[in-house]
């Protein structure tokens, strides 16, 4: 498993959140999650303009093996979704932390990020579960 980039915060349900310089938050799933799912063939994303709360269901990732719900690591308004995933869902496998991002939020409460795990704590938790 490759290391989680140090600037990310991670939910225990395997979604990462990155606070961008403009105050928005980009969301995706971790390398550990894509590895466990196997080949991703479909991603259902929220719609731009949706308002979602931290911890609620915000989409579905479908791999060749199974469907998994994805949850919002922080709450806010969806301001962009990664449309590339519609035609190339495999990007989630090949580049989970960059081109494989899911959606961007305008966070409603930035302090929600503090409730998430640090990359080290997340990796320790994954190692423990294995």
């Amino acid at each position: 498993m490759s290391n989680v980039p140090s600037e990310l915060k991670v939910a225990s349900s395997h979604e990462w959140a990155r606070l961008e310089e403009d105050g928005t938050v980009t969301v995706g799933i971790t390398d550990h999650a894509q590895e466990a799912l196997g080949d991703v063939v479909f991603v259902e994303l929220p719609e731009t303009g949706d308002t979602i709360a931290a911890g609620v269901e915000a989409g579905v990732v479908e791999s060749v093996k199974a469907a998994s719900d994805i949850y919002a690591p922080v709450g806010g308004e969806v301001i962009a979704v990664n449309e590339q995933l519609e035609d190339e869902p495999e990007t989630v496998n090949s580049d989970p932390y960059n081109d494989g991002w899911f959606y961007k939020l305008q966070p409603s409460d930035i302090t929600e990020l503090d409730a998430l795990l640090s990359p080290d704590d997340y990796q320790a938790k994954c190692a423990e579960e294995e």
Partner: protein
Amino acid sequence: MTLLTTPLDGLHRELGAKMVPFAGYDMPVQYPMGIIKEHLQTRESAGLFDVSHMGQVLIEGQGAAAMLESLVPVDIESLGIDRQTYALLTNESGGVLDDLIITRWGEDQFFLVVNAACKAQDISHLQEHLTGQVMTVLPDQALLALQGPAAREVMKTLCPEAAQLVFLQGCHSTINGVEVYVTCSGYTGEDGYEISVPGAHADALARSILSFEQVEPIGLGARDSLRLEVGLCLYGHELSTTIDPVQAGLLWSISKARRADGERPGGFPGADIIFNHIENKPALRRVGLSVEGKRPVRDGQLVFNGDGEQVGQICSAGYGASIGRPIAMAYIKRELGEPGTALFVDVRGKQLPVTVTRMPFTPQRYYRG
């Protein structure tokens, strides 16, 4: 429960396989290549599958053919030496206990390969009914499947004799000095072989096969999507004790000689019920479903018509890597089984449009000489 392992367990781990429990065995579901690439590898070149979890059984004794005919609706009497046939073990209600491959090794000697999940039950079923026959279960025998368009080329080097085989033919031979039984068969829809080899030699043989640049190791995940794409049934999905062969679209597996108007009609469990279904068409039939778009459907999801009435249920679903979209098989009401019929699958509350499609989704490419 402790999982059983095959003689290739160490090799799977060395190759970085993701292991999962399957029918009581710890088996590789995929290797680092991933299911989609492994699927394509098998269609485009060749793949090596460990299918040692399947049961291998030898039945010997005078009148073995007639005895087997009392359990399967297949013309075993006229099966040639070193020829094999697909067969269904039927039950009294016309359902299916298991599907298996029967190979005739001698006049009174038959080699059976049965599903891992049904192995114990099949063995007791055979023991109970094959009176006067000697039945030997071969637990120390491994089974490797080499499948794909490059398989024959590889076999030319490994075992020239086996490279001559046509679909559903076998031979006793040796590979690297080890006695094996090779058949031209498999469950991917491709030309290829299954090699029965003593467990102690399986690892060396697998490594030897993998040393060919055309071959990659393939896990159970791709094995499932490959068989689904060519419309082959999997026990526990398309076949069960409550689904009869006619419903399953396997009428071809009931030999002419064993049908109501054949030379040796009936005489297998559930014959009357099955004959009745041949005559009067069962209410359900197995069909292929093409899914519009990329969202996959899953086993067990319900199928509806345009009026929202439930008309069937998915029995197998997966990603058809060679055609690049999700596919499925379903049991639906007979009258809706015509290719092109538009239906819907309920995917967690969403109605996903699907179309009844002629199977196989991709052509079977067996070598028939």
